[in-house]
């Protein structure tokens, strides 16, 4: 399982590097402008984020002791997965369609907000779970 995940990560890294090299070449050859190359790269980054976050709720890990901890973990993974996937798609969409000045700032805000939601919910779940009575 770890080998498979590692293989996917390496394959994704190779694809990103290959696309970056291809875009650099196209830019040098004059077939693509600097703006176009930047947009394509950022769209790829956004889609990679969405693809990775898509599998986040599947990483359930070992079984927890209490049902409360199990449901909280499940909910946190679900919220994190959804927010990061949507953020990745929004990031890609912004870089594909919005003016550069807007995409530059808005894409960061979108991903930042998704991270805040993910970590905020996880921390809140952890706090609630710890304060819950044992066995609840």
């Amino acid at each position: 399982m770890i080998t498979k995940r590692l293989a996917v990560a390496v394959a994704l890294a190779v694809i990103i590097l290959a696309v970056a090299a291809g875009l650099r070449y196209a830019e040098g050859a004059g077939t693509l402008g600097a703006e176009g190359a930047r947009r394509i790269m950022q769209v790829l980054v956004g889609l990679s984020l969405a693809a990775y976050a898509n599998f986040m709720p599947k990483q359930i890990g070992r079984a927890r002791r209490s049902p409360e901890a199990e449901s909280r973990t499940q909910a946190a993974l679900r919220v994190g997965g959804w927010s990061m996937t949507l953020a990745g798609l929004a990031y890609a969409g912004l870089w594909a369609l919005a003016p550069l000045s807007v995409a530059d700032v808005a894409s960061m805000i979108v991903v930042g907000a998704a991270l805040a939601v993910t970590f905020g919910y996880a921390i809140w779940s952890f706090t609630v779970c710890r304060s819950a009575p044992v066995g609840g």
Binding site: N54, F55, I60, A63, P67, R78, W82
Partner: protein, 106 residues
């Protein structure tokens, strides 16, 4: 992906996934929500496990099922629920389960 579509096509299996959204449940707890036999429920669990939509953990003689949906699978579940795909098959009579139970149990 074919296995995922097959698993989500059945309303009973979708109900199982919805129940597991609330919290992990044992096979017995899940079966209580359906008026079908245990082997039939077992077959449904098998289909869901093969599609990697649920995880089964055994503690003693109890099997506890946990939800294992990716965001895309979660969205597909929502869509099939919203559009009522296979709703006519809901209830105690499950069309595919008897065929499945012939070959395996879990």
């Amino acid at each position: 992906m074919n296995k995922v579509f097959k698993a989500l096509a059945d309303p009973t299996r979708r109900k199982v996934l919805q129940l597991l959204r609330r919290r992990p449940m044992t096979a017995g707890e899940l079966s209580e929500h359906f008026a079908v036999s245990k082997p039939t429920m077992s077959a449904h669990f098998s289909v869901l496990r093969e599609a990697d939509l649920i995880d089964a953990g055994k503690r003693g003689t109890t099997i506890t099922y946990r939800l294992k949906l990716s965001v895309l699978e979660d969205a597909l579940l929502g869509f099939s629920q919203a559009f009522g795909i296979g709703v006519g098959n809901a209830g105690p009579t499950v069309d595919t389960a008897p065929e499945i139970t012939k070959g395996r149990t879990s």
